[in-house]
């Protein structure tokens, strides 16, 4: 199976829809250790991307780039910029191709995680969305079936959320509430989990 602009558009539409229903939960989680806007941010990202989905170029890399633009336009939230950064890294890898084999998904996710680390000056273990993406990258190594990839990634993210729960947030706004963040789920990791659910439709 392969990633095409068409399948990408379907997947992203699913993500956008899921964000509308997840907004409240994400705002609530973010409010505990941040500024409580993550749900709003995800809705903005979803709607922004939705607007360009009908009009994506066949070049998968260029299609990713168009989504990056849509996102940097609608939000300056950390998470939006990290998502844009991740998609930009995918755009570079996919540029010039109309089909990208799903077997590359692990590498795409790993590349995204690296780009996000550089952007956010964060490390693995800092309890951010990067831990979730890294876990997903590792879980889908060797898989090339869409359903299987989503299932494995979802399970891996659930697991890392669980494992990280009792550790402190070490970067972002939550850093200043590090002690308070122990025992709480990182909102960015949960948002990634909801995105996977959205992709699964």
């Amino acid at each position: 199976m392969a990633l095409t602009t068409e399948s990408l558009a379907v997947g992203l539409a699913g993500v956008a829809a899921r964000m509308e229903t997840a907004a409240e939960e994400l705002n609530r989680l973010d409010a505990q250790i941040g500024d409580g806007d993550l749900g709003v941010t995800m809705v903005r990202i979803g709607r922004g991307v939705n607007e360009v989905l009908g009009d994506l170029p066949d070049d998968v890399g260029m299609a990713f780039m168009k989504c990056v633009q849509a996102i940097t336009k609608v939000s300056g939230s950390s998470y939006a910029t990290l998502v844009a950064t991740a998609l930009m890294s995918a755009a570079k890898v996919c540029k010039g191709r109309t089909e990208v084999p799903l077997s590359e998904m692990s590498a795409l996710l790993a590349g995204a995680a690296e780009a996000m680390k550089a952007r956010g000056k964060a490390e693995l273990g800092d309890k951010t969305v990067i831990d979730a993406i890294d876990a997903a990258a590792k879980a889908v190594v060797g898989l090339d079936d869409g359903r299987a990839i989503l299932a494995a990634a979802g399970a891996a993210v659930d697991d890392v959320i669980e494992r990280m729960r009792d550790r402190p947030n070490r970067v972002g706004r939550a850093r200043i509430w590090a002690e308070k963040s122990i025992g709480l789920d990182d909102p960015g990791m949960v948002a990634f989990r909801r995105m996977i659910e959205g992709l699964a439709g």
Partner: protein, 332 residues
């Protein structure tokens, strides 16, 4: 919420419309509703451009300092929220007079990520750019982790001095060096007496008792060093000076520009009471005071409280600090 506004969602846009309407000689919108403000004459051919950006609610920071001998353009977010990378890229385009652009702003996670992203975007358009990030809030991290500190009122000095260097025709590398040198020379400590209210939140950012103050609190209400009973002016000033001097000692014969800044509601009367102490102690130490600033230079809307910034000067920085500059909020 005791704020004068029409709608929490239009707070920033209406503010920018009013600002540009009141001072068209200083501020122009790049395009309606874009929340990118530039000097009307920008880009200025042959001059290094300087852009900043960050959340609204800190006037004169950020937009206020767009002007001659200061900044060329700025990207403005919602109150206390980062503008988007897209806006920042737009500000950089508006500021680029062919000699490249310095991004000069405060060290906040979201702002840093977005400005880096914006740098990546305009790089594709062949606009060379550099970054200097202010991290002057000594209360926000230990000296060993100084790079993690937040940027606060030290920005005022960086805008002024880098702006003067760009005005003097220095190239991007040189303006960047001077901006970084200024950033390195600034230390700030704040103390809050009351909270402000973010319009979209609708209630005070934090609770604080009727007779309490918080030393070291950040300009968005980030937790400080201690919270306790409100102290006397001289005690507050003494502790704030102690903290600044411990982080950056000042020896006899050295010079400093002190900024005694109101976070918003604290009136100038009380700033002058504080300055009285600062001046006497610096005189006592044999430190020379250059261009003391007392007033509202970097605020958090209606928050009561003050910050002290010490910008340690040498000949180069002093010359640029005293060079002419002009915006609606400050004329040198």
């Amino acid at each position: 919420m005791k704020k004068i506004l029409n709608d929490v969602y239009s707070y920033v846009d209406e503010m920018l419309v009013g600002l540009c309407a009141a001072h068209p000689e200083y501020y122009a919108q790049v395009s309606e509703g874009a929340r990118v403000i530039k000097r009307p004459e920008a880009p200025i051919a042959g001059k290094v451009g300087i852009v900043t950006g960050g959340g609204s609610g800190h006037l004169p920071i950020f937009t206020g300092y767009v002007g001659r001998g200061l900044l060329d353009a700025t990207a403005i977010g919602d109150v206390f929220a980062s503008p988007s990378a897209d806006q920042m890229a737009e500000a950089m385009r508006a500021a680029n007079g062919g000699k490249g652009v310095l991004r000069l702003y405060g060290n906040y996670g979201g702002d840093v990520m977005n400005f880096d992203m914006a740098g990546d975007i305009v790089e594709m358009e062949d606009i060379p750019s550099t970054t200097v990030v202010l991290a002057d809030d000594v209360a926000s991290a230990k000296p060993a982790e100084a790079a993690k500190r937040r940027g606060v009122a030290g920005m005022v000095y960086a805008f002024k001095i880098a702006g003067a260097a760009a005005d003097a025709g220095k190239d991007l590398a040189e303006v960047t060096r001077i901006a970084q040198k200024t950033a390195d020379a600034c230390r700030t400590i704040g103390a809050a007496l009351t909270s402000c209210t973010v319009p979209q939140a609708g209630k005070p950012t934090f609770e604080i008792g009727e007779t309490e103050m918080e030393m070291g609190m950040g300009i968005h209400g980030e937790p400080g060093v201690w919270r306790g009973a409100l102290r006397k002016a001289d005690e507050i000033a003494a502790e704030m000076m102690d903290i600044l001097l411990a982080d950056q000692p000042l020896a006899r014969g050295e010079r400093v520009s002190p900024l005694i800044n109101s976070l918003g509601a604290t009136p100038p009367e009380e700033l002058y009471i504080l300055y009285r102490y600062v001046k006497a102690r610096l005189d006592d130490m044999g430190v020379r005071i250059v261009m003391p600033l007392v007033g509202r230079y970097a605020t958090s809307m209606e928050m009561a409280g003050v910050s002290f910034t010490f910008c340690k000067l040498d000949d180069e920085l002093e010359t640029y600090l005293k060079a002419p500059a002009e915006c609606a909020f400050w004329k040198v």
